[in-house]
Amino acid sequence: MAALIEMREIVKIYPNGVVANDGVNFSVDRGEIHALVGENGAGKSTLMKILYGMERPTGGEILLDGQPVHFHSSNDAIAAGVGMVHQNFMLVPSFTVAENIVLGQEPLRNGLLDQAEALRVTRELSQQYGLRVEPEAVVDSINVGMRQRVEILKTLYRGAQVLILDEPTAVLTPQETQELFAAVRKLVDQGKTVIFITHKLREVKEISNRVTVMRSGKVMGVVQTEDATRESLARMMVGRDVFLQVNKPPVTRGKKVLEVHNLSYVSETGRTMLHNVSFNVYGGEVLGIAGVEGNGQTELAETLSGLRPAATGTASVNGKAILNTNPRTVRLSGVAHIPEDRLTNGLALTASIDENLIVDRYFRPPFHRGLFIDYKVVEKQSADLIQEYGIRTPNGKLPVKSLSGGNMQKVIVAREFTSDPALLIAAQPTRGIDVGATEFVRDQLVKQRTDGKAVLLISADLSEVMSLSDRIIVMYEGEITGVFPDAASVSEEELGLYMLGIKRQTKEEMEAVL
């Protein structure tokens, strides 16, 4: 049987030179559930965006039913029967379920909207595919699971034959996930084809017929699901690039700096993102948090740094409580924070480098004297830090936006490392920056730890976590599922099993080593 979709030798190079897809061959048969797995940045989203017409490939061709197709926009893809359900839903909150489903192609009667017809179509589709929704409910008031079903129905209403589901379970509870799987099976029973993007290998085993594994923009293998074990898939996914050479002198562990007990966080939509997380970080150590992104790491960093309110639990730095205070109090308690998204939180792009370097200290001497900020001191500090941290810029008066990504990160690192913190929270500290800057940032992190600071390292880059950390904990679905007291003695495969939810330590096992 010929493949329904065939993507041949797809190459995608972004204008900034990033090679997202490097000669990818990907094919999907009619009526199968095809899992596409890989770590963040492996290139699977780019590949699917190309298939859905949102991105144009740099090279390669796409065949649909054996015929070459060229999608210029997602409208073209929709017309050809390809539908995509995005991770962040595209719904109008004040509209009803039925209104959202027919939006853009509303049924009319006598020139006016035919609400009854919209409701009827919604019910019919809902029944036909076993996607339970309340057609008359306002989207704002329904839960995430139903919102997702609405998104799927939207694509079906537009006649999709192939559905791309982009990490559909990332936002679902286990029960909702089971419902989704049932619905996906029903879709396939009725002749649809589903491409399922995920990193959760348990789900891959459960739902898919075939798996394509991607890593660093390339396809690492295509296997029948029944022939694959979760372990074999994990090895293909996580595989080591090059071992990082980090010079890490031995240090004796100092006193307890950060103590977190039973921390939980509930999102504004009511979803539990962190559940009873407890751990400590000691002076002179790097505690690495490994985990696939989206398993609560962002929320952990942001509740600890005062940017989000915690629902339950306590956290203290050197005995001072920091939860549910505010960022200023947290910082004054001795916490520095390299934020995950530097453009959103970490920098004021149109402000000067000088001014970006003082956001945590402008109100204290020697920067603040009498009524005024002493800009001589500010400039002096800036000149020193630019030199010390090798920030490439003619001077500190230039806006931060004139710097490259790596140099922007150096500005943040320079500020956070010089605030004399007791605890340093580093979230994705080397994401998207060049090799030189990456190496520099990693060396600095280790230096801080060697100087006796406590470092909490959160990174989706497993090799980074493994080479920098003294101890490692793994987070999965908002909970700690594994604790490894000696980072040097754990293998990446072992960590991968915990990160992907295949293995899990018991509470007692974890307490024994924490």
């Binding site: 740094s305 940017l307 505010n326 960022p327 200023r328 947290v330 910082r331 004054l332 924070h337 934020p339 959103t344 939180n345 970490g346 920098l347 004021a348 792009l349 149109t350 402000a351 001014e355 003082i358 956001v359 945590d360 402008y362 109100f363 603040h368 009524l371 005024f372 900020i373 800009y375």
Partner: protein
């Protein structure tokens, strides 16, 4: 050309001068069509404010109000807050300054500072209201400040009509302020120069508010660029999330920004009451609050540029007055010119388009490929 256009200050200045020039040109075209004697009309518009001492005085008086309002607006806009509340704060500033000038039985040395202080305090408090609503409830500051403008105006009219207006007065206005409540002329009584002073007193109402205004410019400048609060204000404006992450108390900054802005709007009101009209009248502000937006906008919210744009804007208005008296043109033409200036200055796409054209036409001689490249670079 390309090199010096890379400097943002130069680029902004060029852009604003070009916009003003183009608007004035359009004004001249209108005048050509409408006026019997267009050259005379336009000459009096462009040069009129300088031709007599009292006209210079009028220009400067008007500019003082505009500069205060420009400063007030620059503060809120710098924090990216779209408050249009200057009008209401100004009305209440005029009211309180007027009430103190009229009724508080103190000698001038105490009464005048008290009146100014009262206007500043009221402006501060009235400005704080939309700030509190925004900071704590995330209520749209544009809508709430517009509502508060009307409420302030109604309070003003109510008190003026029912309490301040003398019972036997034929129209709604207060008595003239007693001389203890009128700001003295800006020219100090220097021995030997009494004659000069007398001439000035006769010709203009330009008061010591001039010096307060100069002080205000520097106060706002230092506040914005030298104090911790100013730093917070600017960081909130550039990237609110960054400020929050860095430990800035966002709510405090929003409330204070709106309130401090009110201080200067209050002073603008005090200037109207105590400097220009020396009594309280209906419609004392006459929609001037929005003009502050224009002054701040042209100054790109930079307090040191505000006096220049305020003077330029005041000059246009004063010129229009002279033109109206000296010719068959009406002064409202200047409003049309103002509107064109705002549109040209705020249109984000105008300058890039012009640059592209220039770049394209320059590289035409160097071949088509170079033209395309030059065009895309300039864009």
């Amino acid at each position: 050309m390309k090199r010096w256009m890379a400097n943002p200050i130069v680029r902004e200045t060029v852009r604003i001068v070009a916009a003003v020039g183009l608007a004035l040109l359009l004004g001249f075209i209108i005048t050509l069509f409408v006026s019997e004697d267009p050259l005379n009309a336009y000459r009096s518009f462009l040069l009129g404010p300088l031709t007599r001492l009292n006209r210079i005085g009028d220009w400067l008086e008007e500019s003082i109000t505009l500069i205060f309002l420009g400063l007030a607006t620059a503060i809120v806009f710098k924090a990216e807050l779209f408050s249009l509340g200057a009008e209401g704060q100004m009305v209440l500033g005029a009211l309180t300054a007027g009430v103190v000038s009229l009724y508080v039985p103190l000698p001038p040395a105490l009464r005048l500072p008290l009146a100014l202080l009262a206007a500043m305090v009221v402006g501060f408090l009235w400005g704080a209201i939309p700030g509190i609503l925004k900071a704590n409830l995330n209520a749209n500051e544009l809508v709430s400040s517009l509502m508060l403008n009307t409420i302030a105006l109604k309070i003003y009219e109510w008190l003026l009509t029912f309490y301040i207006k003398p019972p036997n007065a034929g129209y709604t206005a207060s008595d003239f302020f007693p001389k203890e409540g009128v700001l003295p002329n800006f020219f100090p009584p220097i021995p030997g120069l009494e004659g000069v002073r007398q001439t000035l007193v006769n010709q203009t109402n330009l008061t010591i508010m001039l010096y307060i205004m100069l002080a205000a410019i520097f106060v706002v400048y230092f506040l914005m660029y030298r104090t911790p609060f100013g730093y917070e204000l600017r960081m909130v404006g550039i990237n609110l999330k960054f400020a929050r992450y860095g430990g800035v108390d966002i709510k405090k900054v929003i409330i204070l920004a709106m309130a401090v802005s009110g201080i200067f709007a209050g002073l603008a009101g005090a200037h109207l009451a105590m400097g220009i009209h020396t009594k309280l009248i209906l419609n004392i502000t006459f929609g001037l609050g929005f003009e502050g937006v224009v002054v701040a906008l042209l100054a790109r919210n930079n307090p040191l540029a505000v006096p220049f744009t305020g003077l330029a804007y005041g000059y246009l208005r004063a010129g229009a007055d002279v033109m109206e008296r000296a010719s068959d043109m009406s002064r409202e033409m200047v409003l049309v010119i103002q509107a064109i200036i705002i549109l040209l200055v705020t249109a984000e796409r105008v300058l890039p388009m012009v640059q592209k054209r220039i770049a394209a036409s320059r590289s035409n001689g160097e071949g088509a490929a170079a033209a395309a490249e030059g065009g895309s670079h300039a864009a």
